[in-house]
């Protein structure tokens, strides 16, 4: 099965890198949508269904924390698993974002296998 994923990050090169890493990892991607902040991501989600969301924290307009709050408050969208990708590996931050509704957390730097494993875990993909 191939999956539809949304990447929310204000850095175009980071979005390109994440997409490349997903492909390098062997994770089956059927469609990849991109947004430069939480608001753009929510707009995309109003017209496109995705299986998983990968989001940065520090973004303009609507940041990652507010994006998670709005996802959790939306009955249509709250079931979509969101994974945070961040440089911040402090316990306080991870706990805070998981409490806001994040289903996974990947700390930069990461290897492709780590991102794939987190995607598969949150999507409930059975292990090989």
């Amino acid at each position: 099965m191939a999956y539809r994923v949304l990447i929310a990050d204000d850095s175009p090169v980071m979005r390109l890198f994440i997409r490349r890493v997903i492909e390098l990892s062997g994770f089956e991607l059927s469609e990849c949508f991109e947004a430069s902040n939480g608001e753009e991501a929510l707009e995309t989600l109003r017209s496109e269904w995705v299986d998983a969301i990968l989001t940065d924290i520090n973004m303009p307009v609507v940041d990652g924390e507010e994006f998670l709050r709005r996802l959790a408050a939306d009955d249509m969208l709250k079931s979509i698993p969101a994974i945070v990708i961040s440089t911040d590996a402090t316990r306080n931050r991870i706990d805070r974002l998981m409490a806001l509704g994040a289903r996974g957390y990947v700390t930069k730097p990461f290897v492709p296998e780590t991102l794939r494993a987190e995607l598969e875990r949150t999507l409930g993909v059975p292990c090989d």
């Binding site: 850095s11 590996a89 316990r91 306080n92 930069k108 730097p109 290897v111």
Partner: protein, 157 residues
């Protein structure tokens, strides 16, 4: 936390970020010498303590790193892409260092900005790490406004 352990955290962070995210093997550290003069990115951070981080790369080093990061031909990269990748690299190294030395604090990084490579950051020098990268040099420096309060045992655990 001692100055030596901040040096270690900085060196380990540079190596780990380049190895995992840029697919670049371990770098050979270069002792003190003239800093790279190409592209420089700087960011500020809040935390305990707050401070700033600066990353300098020679243009060939930046081009080589950006090509590895994006999986594209080095010669086809735009100046904008080079700048964005250097900013991302600065963000990741700084976040990695702070997560190692301030693991129990809440940290907040400002958005990295490109600064003049010729204009050095004012104030007392911080911990730095300089290494060869491709056909150029990379230099990372972290400055803290006051000493970190954690004990060495907490850092090592």
């Amino acid at each position: 936390m001692t100055e030596q352990s901040i040096d270690t955290a900085l060196a380990e962070s540079v190596q780990e970020v380049l190895e995992k995210m840029f697919f670049i093997d371990l770098l050979d550290p270069v002792g003190d010498g003239p800093p790279p003069m190409g592209i420089a990115a700087e960011l500020m951070f809040d935390g305990d303590p707050p401070g700033s981080f600066r990353l300098d790369l020679d243009v060939p080093a930046a081009r080589s790193a950006a090509a590895d990061f994006l999986g594209e031909d080095a010669e086809e990269l735009s100046v904008e892409q080079l700048n964005e990748v250097v900013c991302e690299l600065a963000n990741m190294i700084c976040g990695s260092v702070l997560s190692r030395i301030e693991s129990k604090a809440t940290i907040r990084l400002s958005k990295p900005v490109i600064v003049s490579a010729a204009e050095q950051t004012q104030g007392p020098a911080g911990a730095s790490f300089q290494a060869a990268l491709g056909s150029g040099l990379l230099r990372a420096e972290i400055r803290m406004e006051r000493p970190v309060c954690l004990g060495i045992d907490e850092y090592e655990s």
